[in-house]
Amino acid sequence: MLLIYCPYCEEERSELEFRNGGDAHIARPTNMAEISDEEFEAYFFLRDNPKGVIFERWRHVHGCGRFFNAARDTISDRFLTTYKAGEPKPDLNEKPKTGAEVETYEALEGAAQ
């Protein structure tokens, strides 16, 4: 079961309190009635389903109720970062806010000496 950092509650909480909301950063066209069939298809139907980092929406539905965004590695399920709805897509090359590097035993062993 995942542990998800809610940027509004400023705390990691169990996945049980959350609901996934699909891909993030897909803005609803403001001129919705005028867009072409192709634009509608791209907006509503087409998704990348990446192997690796996905930007996705979560709602802390049984918590603060807020929608927020997360960058998650779909292979490891590691969250690289979570951030409030409306904030820009973060640069993942910067140091992530949450999800520190996993310490291997070897690394710890080195640190112990």
Partner: protein, 997 residues
């Protein structure tokens, strides 16, 4: 005496505390603390079961959780009976009844043993080949045969009378395994101030020290040190020590499932105790100290009862005080087995010989063997065994051939070395690496916040294990934020250093042989089966595993995986790491359904939501139906009525007089804020700006793709406040849908949403006398047609309590929906009923509501629509605003497929024979004589007998339906074809005058 093989003075159990149990009806005596396995061996019983496929006699192979053979049926009473219990794990309690499995008519003479003779037909992959043809024989012949023959235990038929509990718990450091490494790590972490959970599957701490005899730690005998350390840890406030507790699953983000067996070892457990407790642990750091599992030797007929792992033989002797035989042989590729021989010899048991397939055993153990006078046959192998129901002798030959020598034994201890337990590490998605020098898989790349220490990390040396564990414990504690405490140091030494180990088939069971040399005992997989799989073209270990079923039994191949891998690698001509290791899955050992379910059974399986009027409805004989989690009054049968009669009466009464209906379950959302109307404009197809406070409107909500998502009546309470209703089942998802748009697409709007579904009890009063019924109860609202017309809402009082009173109707009659704060629901209902009943009105349920609305052609979202129906398809074009620049679904509605001719549209259907009621879901065709496959035009969505129309009525989705009014179509059923006429959707009061009565 608790068994003939119990050795006086040996072991750690208390001789005075005995327990009696039965095995296949025979009463036996055990000591408190015995496992079923140790008690059986103490009573000189090795034969405990028949194998899965060949029904070969099988004994006890191990002394731990890895046991593949000794699976027994253990019962406390008729209902508390569990099949497939590992005898090596289950503790004996007084009065327990143990039975062997998979044998008939008896364990000693099992008719299924013929399968062993037929074994050429049961080679690997036989399921896939033998039973392919003829197809018809599968159900009648093959499957019943396979099920009977290839059985494990029989599931109990009675309901489980025990209860199980579950709890979530958080800790800084979870240590799995309380052997030397686990205890040291837990001690270091706890002394550093961390909140520690230490768990171990055994009844006591000590791990490998259970079998050990010569280890000294901190100046004490190893086992004594472990007990003292366990006691000290248990006494610390920041430590939870859980014994009889298996960490069975390592899940995402350091979420680890533990199962604690609370009562299975007790003779008469307190009723209030759960049988098992599920610990759902979220740990900041996990330390894996799972140890290692000894492998058996793979040689011809290596499965006879009496053949067991060397460490198991030591455990039975040193912990349980039981000798596994009177004349014991040892067959090994590893030094550790020598110590078993030493311990047995010292205890007075004859050691027939140590057969070591290595040319050069470890020097220290060799010297000790000589000193004790034990014959060591280095460079020799056991090439066969004899003995029908128990091993009687071994045939030993010099490696490379030559004459064999027969040595009589009544038990044989085997060891091919030790496999580090990387199961939990693998479950955590860590990647193992192959250590070529020691030929074993070890934790490589970590995927989660965990560390492996001791034997599971491939650390062999005792002091190195201790140092590594202490360092890991302290580091984990510090990393989790612990700041206190003193550093712990410990010293330890072993009696002997160990070398050796091998994988795969031993001498005499190699590539050119066809002997039965078992690698997977539980699934009866032999070395030759792996080779067959490779010959048949399986080159991936995943394919080989599935073709042979090696490692796929409930023991998940704890003993067999490495052997299978080595044999496959040899057959493929590859190195072991090039063949790859299959992934370990949760659970590590089987977990009962009771534990997985824990509290979620009976009334706690799912919340049963009841309305404030539920008790009244129950008292008045209502039958209930489930709608989502709600229990809704379905119909109210009176004496002698069946459902059909009750519904017919209720339908007629509502239209002739009036009816009272509990509509409390309708979803309700309060939409409040200066931009409330703007927001609803975007969420619904309708326009809301022009709806005046005090008025209501039926609204349709779409998804962005243009299909109907939900519907309901929305009342405007004030300029900035709307009372939105949703379908009963749709309430949570509609709120989620609205929140989604509000928060992420329209966050600039000043409006907020609050669920009020449960704030209000809703009493619908419908029918010509509705006004007369409620009028005297209502204060502050003029109910006249002029002041309070159809689709009005007002706030006032009813029965002295606040109400939001709606004039609306889902029946087509004059109707009101009385909303009162929920706690007043029952009292107001009773007051309304007290007026309604004398007038001849009835209480009605959801079935009547469904019929009445169908008579009026009102749709039910989810019944008459299915997620592919637009408002136009449903005949609701009037509800779609043509003036609004935007609403959710506006673009979807103009998609090419949604404006195409010939879409399925909702229409009415009238059967030519008015007495015939169509089946909901039935398909509709134009030409009943068209050859199959016929062209299906659509299906029936709603169908009822209408007592008010005196005939059947139906709604249906029909291709191009609105253009087919008056046409005759056909509904083909299994036994007949029903002719229907397409009609409009309104069957009763087509002019709609009754609404305004």
């Amino acid at each position: 005496m608790s068994g003939v093989n119990r050795i006086s003075g040996a072991g750690r159990l208390t001789p005075a505390r005995s327990a009696r149990f039965t095995f296949d009806g025979r009463t036996l005596t055990a000591l408190e603390g015995d496992t079923v396995a140790s008690a059986l061996i103490a009573n000189d019983i090795h034969l405990v079961g028949r194998s899965f496929k060949y029904h070969r006699p099988r004994g006890i192979l191990s002394a731990g959780a890895e046991e593949p053979n000794a699976l027994l049926d253990v019962a406390r009473d008729a209902a508390r009976r569990q099949p497939n219990v590992r005898a090596t794990v289950q503790e004996v309690f007084d009065g327990m009844k143990v039975s062997s499995q998979n044998r008939w008519p008896s364990l000693a003479f099992d008719i299924g043993g013929f399968n062993d003779l037929l074994s050429p037909f049961f080679a690997a992959g036989f399921y896939y080949k033998t039973f392919m043809w003829p197809k018809a024989a599968w159900h009648k012949l093959y499957e019943p045969f396979i099920r009977r023959a290839a059985g494990l235990g029989v599931a109990p038929t009675e309901a489980d009378p025990d209860h199980y509990s579950s709890r979530y718990v958080h800790c800084d450091v979870l240590v799995v395994g309380a052997g030397i490494a686990g205890l040291a790590a837990a001690l270091a972490a706890a002394k550093a101030g961390a909140k520690v959970i230490l768990c171990d599957e055994q009844p006591g701490v000590g791990g490998a020290l259970h079998y050990d005899s010569g280890t000294v730690i901190d100046g004490k005998p190893g086992y004594d040190w472990a007990q003292a350390t366990g006691k000290a840890l248990a006494a610390m406030d920041n430590v939870t020590l859980l014994t009889r507790t298996t960490a069975f699953g390592y899940y995402n983000h350091n979420f680890v499932g533990l199962v604690e067996r609370v009562t299975d070892h007790l003779a008469s457990p307190e009723k209030s105790l759960p049988r098992e407790r599920l610990w759902q642990v979220r740990a900041k750091k996990v330390i894996l100290a799972n140890g290692a599992i000894e492998r058996h030797m793979v040689f011809a007929n290596n499965d006879r009862p009496g053949i067991m792992l060397a460490s198991a033989g030591r455990t039975y002797l040193n912990h349980f005080g039981v000798a596994v035989g009177k004349r014991v042989g040892v067959y090994t590729a590893h030094d550790s087995a020598y110590e078993a021989a030493f311990d047995l010899k010292k205890a007075g048991v004859t050691v027939a010989a140590i057969v070591d397939c290595r040319e050069k055993p470890g020097e220290a153990v060799l010297a000790k063997a000589r000193e004790l006078g034990i014959e060591v046959l280095a460079g020799h192998s056991v090439v066969n065994t004899t003995g029908k129901l128990r091993i009687a002798s071994i045939n030993v030959a010099r490696n490379g051939g030559g004459a064999s020598r027969k040595i009589a034994v009544d038990a044989l201890l085997v060891s091919a070395g030790w496999t580090p337990s990387v199961h939990l590490f693998s479950q955590s998605r860590g990647k193992v690496k192959f250590d070529a020098s020691t030929e074993r898989f070890l934790p490589g790349t970590y995927a989660q916040e965990c560390l492996s220490v001791g034997a599971c990390n491939g650390t062999d040396d005792l002091q190195a294990t201790i140092d590594e564990a202490l360092a890991a414990g302290e580091l984990a504690a510090r990393a989790a934020g612990a700041e206190g405490g003193a550093q712990v140091t410990l010293t330890g030494r072993n009696a002997f250093e160990w070398t050796g180990g091998m994988h795969g088939a031993a001498e005499g069971a190699g590539a050119d042989t066809t002997v039965k040399a078992f690698i997977d005992f539980q699934h009866d997989v032999c070395a030759k089966d792996i080779r067959l799989a490779v010959r048949e073209g399986m080159h991936s270990i995943e394919h080989i595993k599935r073709f042979t079923t090696n490692g796929m039994a409930s023991d998940q191949g704890k003993l067999s995986n490495m052997h299978g891998l080595a044999i496959a690698a040899e057959a493929l001509g590859k190195e072991i790491p090039a063949v790859g290791l299959t992934t370990f899955r949760q659970p590590y050992t089987p977990v009962t359904f009771g534990t997985i379910v824990s509290h979620s059974r009976g009334s706690l399986f799912d919340p049963a939501r009841k309305t404030p009027m539920h008790a009244w409805e129950e008292a008045h004989g209502a039958e209930f139906e489930d709608v989502g989690n709600w229990k809704r009054a379905w119909f109210y049968p009176q004496a002698g009525e069946d459902m059909h009669e009750a519904v017919a009466r209720e339908c007629k009464t509502v239209r002739d007089v009036a009816g009272v209906f509990d509509a409390s379950t309708l979803g309700k959302i309060e939409v409040v804020g200066p931009d409330a109307a703007k927001f609803l404009n975007l969420m619904y197809t309708n326009a809301w700006d022009n709806l005046k406070p005090g008025r209501c409107r039926y609204g349709i909500m779409l998804r962005e793709d243009g299909f109907i998502y939900d519907d309901g009546v929305v009342g405007r309470m004030a300029e900035d406040r709307f009372h939105v209703t949703t379908t009963t089942g749709g309430a949570p998802r509609v709120l989620q849908h609205m929140e989604d748009y509000l928060q992420t697409e329209f966050p600039h709007l000043k409006v907020w949403l609050t669920s009020t579904t449960e704030q209000w009890a809703v009493i619908a009063v419908q029918g010509p006398k509705a006004r007369e019924i409620i009028a005297p109860l209502v204060e502050g609202i003029d109910l006249s047609n002029g002041a309070f017309p159809h689709m009005s809402v007002a706030e006032g009082k009813i029965c002295g309590v606040p109400t939001r009173l709606f004039r609306m109707s889902f029946t087509g009659e004059l109707g009101f929906e009385v909303n009162v704060p929920a706690d007043y629901g029952q009292a107001v209902w009773e007051a309304i009923w007290a007026r309604a009943e004398p007038m001849g009105a009835c209480a009605y349920g959801t079935e009547t509501m469904h019929v009445l609305r169908a008579e009026k052609g009102y749709i039910i979202v989810g019944q008459d629509t299915d997620g592919t129906v637009t408002p136009h398809d449903a005949g609701l074009s009037w509800a779609v605003s043509k003036k609004k620049p935007d609403f959710v679904g506006i673009r979807g509605l103009t998609r090419p497929d949604l404006v195409k001719e010939g879409r399925k549209q909702l229409v009415g259907l009238l059967t030519k024979d008015p007495k015939v009621v169509l089946e909901e879901g039935a398909q509709i065709v134009a030409d009943p004589n068209e050859p199959k496959p016929m062209t299906m035009l659509g299906h029936v969505t709603s169908s009822y007998w209408s007592s008010n129309c005196g005939r059947s009525i139906a709604l249906a989705l029909v291709a191009g339906g609105q253009a087919r009014l008056g046409q005759t179509l056909y509904v083909p059923m299994a036994d007949r074809t029903i002719a229907v006429e397409v009609s409009d959707m309104v069957f009763f009061d087509k002019e709609g005058g009754r609404l305004h009565g």
